[in-house]
């Protein structure tokens, strides 16, 4: 879609922001599927089989890995179609960290939101309403971090953002671990 619209983007901030917006939309869909695709019978079966903490941890790890794979593959495809000129003086380690943290954070935060939304009738719509305000600040920091990495800004300056992103991801993991059992019992 982006390729059809622009052919090539030379401007680094636009290139970067558009990429993360595409990732955001696919992340919402991917995370929503992780709970919506299972029916009541399977949920009941899982409930008898495993502790809710184990279930949510599994789901989170699965989502994080899935989104990381998605982020990396879509980054490759994106760079292929929309031009690699913004990558010329990028800090490779920084870009890889940004992509990894992006997949990890989106996966971890959106898992609990997806779990909440799956209990309602309007799954995808509510997922966007609930998820967007929670994920948007994370995304803003992520966009700044990855733009800095693309511009080749030194790790000593840019590392603060990576630390913030990591801290938020870990915190959301802990919160989901504590809160999920309350959603699960039914």
């Amino acid at each position: 879609m982006a390729y059809l619209g622009f052919r090539e983007i030379v401007d680094v901030p636009t290139w970067n922001a558009l990429f993360w917006i595409i990732v955001l939309f696919s992340a919402f869909n991917a995370a929503a599927r992780s709970f919506a695709s299972e029916n009541t019978g399977r949920r009941l079966y899982l409930f008898t089989l495993a502790r809710p903490e184990a279930v949510v941890l599994g789901k989170m790890i699965y989502n994080a890995l899935l989104l990381m794979v998605m982020v990396f593959s879509s980054f490759a495809f994106y760079a292929l179609t929309l031009g690699t000129s913004p990558l010329q003086d990028a800090d490779v380690l920084g870009v890889v960290t940004a992509l990894a943290l992006g997949g990890l954070g989106l996966g971890l935060i959106l898992t609990l939101v997806a779990a909440l939304a799956s209990h309602t009738d309007n799954n995808l719509g509510l997922m966007a309403i609930l998820g967007l305000p929670v994920i948007l600040p994370y995304l803003l920091i992520l966009i700044r971090f990855s733009k800095n990495a693309l511009d080749g800004i030194a790790w000593s300056v840019n590392g603060v953002y990576a630390l913030q992103l990591g801290a938020v991801a870990v915190l959301s993991l802990a919160l989901s671990y504590i809160l999920f059992p309350y959603l699960w019992r039914e």
């Binding site: 209990h119 309602t120 009738d121 305000p133 600040p137 803003l140």
Partner: protein
């Protein structure tokens, strides 16, 4: 009566802070100078004061310009009225700095200063001039200025009269934080013992908190228009506040979109806790690490550090306590209403 003292207290506090906060005058100050460019030779400018009493203090009025180590005194000073002065002075060809600070001093108003009041035009700026004999050029007579006798608020350039907004903008955000924290506590209580009452209370606290957040956004917007020149600027703190409001709107959407009320309560409580922690993280912690225009963020000093004087404090702290009390009072009333409603519905179904 004994249990309601805090309601009376907060109502009185809010009333007095509103009356004094809106009525007490601003301290005298200098708002502008026109024209604000000076060139080599004789210049004549008009000084515009605010709440000043120039004509009352004709005998002990002193005006001088300061530029680097040089002090320039006017050789002619005409008092037009209480608020306006006309001064004529001469500027040397070489100056140390491009900007001139203006000082006005009289017995009634004390010393007033306008930083960078005048800017040089076509002058040579030299970093350090040979030291001149100060006593020769100085017009400064030693004089004691008594503190202004009446109760005034500091006259800050740019802020001017809007400094009063401090008594409304900041307490409303404090009250919102308090209510959202109460809402969080109620949500945790609900998850612990599944008492439906706590879910109602959590919803009420968040609802009243949203009202105060709206007040905070509106007063902040007015303030931003005056000081920064726009109703809304893209700033980490402001965006965080807007997202905080969105989070709680989402909370209400979630609660209303589930038909089973027990399930709605549980989902709402979980989202409330998750969203509260995320919001606090994004509003309170992260903007401090990045650049922001907002006071108290990103290296900007908060008010209390340098320009909140004792008179401001005397109104500001009671205002905070008073507004928080009012917020809690509204929440308590709404809690009682919903408790009655809940009991009535139970009775109807029984």
């Amino acid at each position: 009566m004994a249990r309601n003292w805090w309601k009376i207290l907060s109502a009185l506090l809010v009333l007095t802070t509103v009356i004094i906060g809106l009525n007490a005058p601003l301290a005298p100050g200098i708002t502008s100078v026109g024209p604000d460019r000076v060139a080599y030779g004789v210049n004549s400018v008009t000084v515009q004061g605010y709440n000043t009493h120039f004509s009352e203090a004709e005998d002990d009025l002193q005006v001088w310009l300061s530029n680097g180590s040089a002090v320039i005194c006017p050789y002619e000073l005409v008092i037009l009225d209480d608020l306006r002065l006309r001064m004529t002075f001469s500027i040397p060809e070489k100056v140390e700095e491009a900007f001139f600070d203006l000082y006005v001093n009289n017995g009634t108003d004390g010393t007033m200063m306008l930083e960078s009041a005048l800017m040089q035009k076509d002058l040579t700026v030299v970093l350090s001039l040979p030291e001149k004999d100060k006593s020769e050029s100085s017009c400064l007579r030693p004089m004691e200025t008594e503190e202004a006798a009446w109760f005034t608020f500091p006259n800050q350039s740019i802020l001017n009269e809007t400094i009063r907004n401090l008594f409304f903008h900041v307490p409303s955000w404090f009250s919102m934080m308090l209510l959202m924290t109460m809402s969080l506590a109620y949500s945790i209580l609900y998850l612990r013992n599944s008492n439906f009452k706590y879910d109602l209370f959590a919803g009420n606290a968040a609802g009243v908190g949203l009202v105060f957040a709206t007040i905070g956004l509106l007063t902040g917007s007015v303030w931003a228009r005056f000081t920064w020149g726009a109703w809304w600027v893209s700033d980490p703190r402001l965006n965080g506040a807007a997202l905080g409001v969105l989070v709680y709107l989402a909370y209400f959407v979630l609660k209303s979109s589930v038909n089973d009320s027990e399930k709605a309560a549980r989902l709402g409580a979980v989202y409330n806790i998750f969203a509260y922690v995320m919001m606090m993280l994004f509003i309170m912690v992260l903007p401090r690490m990045t650049d922001s225009l907002h006071p108290g963020v990103g290296g900007n000093p908060a008010f209390s550090q340098y320009d909140l004087d004792d008179n401001m404090r005397m109104i500001f702290y009671p205002a905070v306590i008073g507004w928080m009390g009012i917020a809690l009072w509204i929440m308590q009333l709404r809690n009682r209403m919903s408790a009655i409603d809940y009991k009535r519905t139970l009775r109807e179904y029984a």
